[in-house]
Amino acid sequence: MSTQRPTAAAPALETRLAIYRTMAECRQFEARAQELFFEGLVRGTTHLGIGQEAVAAGVAAAMRTDDYTFCTYRGHNHTLARGVPMAPIFAELFGRGTGLLGGKGGSMHLTSVEHGVMGSYAIIGAHLPIALGAAWSAQYRKSGQVALCFFGDGTTNIGAFHEALNMAAVWKAPVVFVCENNQYMEYTPIGSVTAVPRPAADRASAYGLEPIVVDGNDPDAVYAIARTAIDRARAGDGPSLIEALTYRHGGHSRADPGKYRPDEEVKAWLARDPLPMYRARLLAEGASEVALAAIDDETRGSVAEAEQEARSAPEPSLDVLETQVWSDGGSAWRN
């Protein structure tokens, strides 16, 4: 893999432990969510990012608290990484009234404005222009905020990608586009539908940008690359396009077993599972087993607790059905 090796030193141990905690939270939350989908408690659909946690965690650690996150239907990791509590996320997946979106949005639309999570978008490509718009707003308001926009490899072939990248570059908007190249658009290998080998990086020059490829299973590398791009954006030097190479361990969504993928490919990527890899590296580079085990245990506790809280939450009241279409809280379209 010819990825950019971050030249910067590894982040401070504290940061790395925070990253590890985020990754553990993402992994455990999603593993449980999948079980609950098969139990029928999670309704509709879910798209898990198991295997891709290092991207969400590494980038989030490089963000300022008032920066914006725009992500996709595969957005549990990015939402959790910004500190959104688990219970309302579970509740949303269960379709409960205490859900993060009151049960109106579901798994694909997680949003927590108070945490800077400006939405999870479920129609491919749409959020790239929207993230650019938030960046434009920050630029106009001189707030110093940066918008982070996550999307998949398959998304690089849709028109909105092209329009957003060009306009962001022309406007020097403070937005960082992060392509999580997990090698597949749903069931189709990305290479079979894309004219270039690196769906994002090989397009960067079309927008006057540097090609950036990073090992998306290495959170330190992701952190370093993200830091550079975010600093650059905040300094007024315009957007970046990062391609992070990674892999989803499971299927695309719901009950998809992901059988369209060659066994050896899956095996090779599982051997590069970011969670144990990072844990081992941290141990080797000064973290204590006690500290890491504590994170693992605390996370297990939080996930279990959040699940219980969500399980015991009520169904949404039918009173909310017709609220929040308009800013007056209602949905009246006539007198």
Partner: protein, 328 residues
């Protein structure tokens, strides 16, 4: 006769036509070896090969645009839009190019294509994956619109749509994919533009399509059993061409019209039917014309909310009962 699921009827209908005519080709996302995310094209890739069943990138404008270009030059493409909500991404191709080019060129260009799509709610997928977009298409001159409710209709109308020399939007309802129904043996073909009176009745006319048909039927049975109300239920099957005569003829007998729509309230296809009857059937009416619709809101994802939003058997029956009583 064979029993088929609605889902299997989609692939069977396509296969029948691909067997018949080598100019029928398919494109779409994950429709090939994977058989489609709803397994609606299962088996076609194996049977007809990658030249006739082609996977595409996530590029709905290119998918639909390419289908148009191919249709203009001798093929009969079928393009799949995975969810009907994604029509919005390629609406220019559909509403501005495909629908208008024949007229703008004074008939020089023919565009025999089918845009198939998984339409409708009920699966807790939320507002961006649950819409019913038949009315979007109906509002655009130059598009035919098909929305079948049974496996037999899926097969027969699919054949008609593929053989049609005009663009057809073919809405496959997600919530019906698993239902089963008898399909006659042999080649299937049901002409576009013929409604089916799926329950004869004399007290009121209930017009529905797709997933609202079984609900309207269940409501009619309940009204018969509980209230002695004998509702006629018409499954339009296609919105364009529209079997206006079937509706007008029925209302002439029943004097009362209800439409049951899954789309949000404003400017739905029900408004078109009501307006037609309020003009041409006015003098046979003896009560208000009533649309039963989803409220004018995006569809929520939580089960209880989604169920409350869409017209349910309860709501259909209750509305008909209440409105007939009020009009007495």
């Amino acid at each position: 006769m064979a029993e088929l699921t609605y889902r299997a009827a989609v692939a069977a209908g396509i296969a029948q036509e691909m067997d018949r005519d080598p100019s029928v080709v398919m494109i779409g996302e994950d429709i090939g070896a994977a058989g489609g995310v709803f397994k609606l094209t299962e088996g076609l890739f194996g049977r007809f090969g990658p030249e006739r069943v082609r996977d595409t990138p996530i590029s709905e404008q290119a998918i639909v645009g390419a289908a148009m270009g191919a249709a203009m030059t001798g093929l009969r493409p079928i393009a799949e839009l995975m969810f009907s909500d994604f029509f919005a991404v390629t609406w220019d191709m559909v509403a501005n190019q495909i629908a208008k080019s024949r007229y703008m060129t004074n008939g020089q260009v023919s565009i025999p294509l089918v845009l198939r799509t998984a339409n409708g709610g009920g699966l807790r997928f939320g507002a961006q994956h649950s819409q019913s977009i038949e009315n979007w298409a109906m509002a655009i001159p130059g598009l035919k619109v098909v929305a079948p409710s049974t496996p037999a209709d899926v097969m027969g109308l699919m054949a008609a749509a593929i053989r049609d020399n005009d663009p057809v939007i073919f809405c496959e309802h997600k919530a019906l994919l698993a239902i089963k129904g008898e399909v006659p043996t042999g080649e299937q073909f049901i002409p576009l533009g013929k409604a089916a009176t799926v329950r004869p009745g004399s007290d009121c006319t209930v017009v529905a399509i797709a997933a609202m048909v079984p609900r309207a039927l269940a409501a009619a049975e309940r009204l018969q059993a509980e209230d002695g109300i004998n509702a006629e239920v018409i499954d339009l099957r296609t919105l364009v061409p529209l079997d206006a005569q079937a509706i007008l003829e029925s209302v002439a007998r029943t004097s009362r019209l209800f439409t049951v729509e899954e789309n949000p309230r404003l400017c739905g296809w029900g408004a078109e039917i009501v307006s037609l009857v309020a003009d041409e059937g006015f003098y046979s009416l003896d009560a208000p014309l009533v649309r039963i619709t989803t409220p004018h809101i995006p569809l929520p994802s939580a089960a209880v909310l989604e169920d409350a939003a869409m017209p349910s058997v309860d709501r259909i029956a209750d509305t008909i009962r209440r409105r007939l009583e009020a009009a007495r």
